[in-house]
Symmetry: C2
Subunit: 167 residues, 2 copies
Amino acid sequence: MHGFKVDGYNEAFLAEITVSTVVAREVRMDEKDLALIRELTENGRASLTELGRKLGITDVAVKKRLRKLERAGVIKKYTVEVDPSKLGYKSVALIGIDVEPEKILDVASKIASKDFAVKVYLTTGDHMIMVEAWARDNKHLTQIIGEIGSTEGVKRVCPAIVLEKLK
Amino acid sequence: MHGFKVDGYNEAFLAEITVSTVVAREVRMDEKDLALIRELTENGRASLTELGRKLGITDVAVKKRLRKLERAGVIKKYTVEVDPSKLGYKSVALIGIDVEPEKILDVASKIASKDFAVKVYLTTGDHMIMVEAWARDNKHLTQIIGEIGSTEGVKRVCPAIVLEKLK
DNA sequence: ATTGAAACACGACACAT
DNA sequence: ATGTGTCGTGTTTCAAT
């Protein structure tokens, strides 16, 4: 026995969700593919030659594997991780949004089209939409919250300001 | 007047948060730096030459700018964005965690060290810790939730299963 | 801007499933 | 047959002068 509560779910519900999950075409992945992704996660600009050295295969073989992973959709894109505060976004927030159920997609896509929205998730749980928003400062964040709140179909806006990112 | 509620904050509180924010050393950034970051966000493996073409500067100039941005900490790392479901993680969740206030850092760093934790945020708001967790399936997710819940100092675990990622 | 070295692209071929 | 590998050759890109 432990002294914590779990909010909202039981195993039967979780099992049910599985059924509605779209089954993706399986991709054959071996150890080297996983190692490749691990390396690229740490240094997405590593050269094919360098990657090959680490895996014990040639640069050409690496290139072929990458193409395979890209075409299979395992690798969605190569990108760069930046520090929002150094870019002038001093106020980052995770914002939960409660909406009228029939308007979820409307609201979500409208919000996803905004500049402040860095990531948008549709979820089960308390809030149906979760947004990571980058604001210049808290005044700007307040304005963003107002903008979200005044969107047709939105019932409640629950902002959580990010104090620190550990991982 | 709008028919939505905002959870937990008012402007005075937001203003107060600003004070405790660590002031980062400012970095001088011009339009080209921002464009560079925009390009790299879309294709983190673009060659210096290609980046230079788009900005109307030479590859060497691009390299210098990148080095500056890396050393200033604006660019934290180059990485790759993958599709968790194609990697065998069929169940992704955003998990809010309520903890006893004095144990936030303990709990957060313990959770950040786990394999399932892809991202960990410390936040204000309902939950003091927010985790993005990748689980193989819902059974695995249930196990992860249990693992979090039985961590010393955790009072409540609020999982939200990600149904879709829009952005 | 030049230049030598490194990295990359592409074709041809080999081997395994 | 399709996927994965190496090798050779020519081209591009990189970094340091």
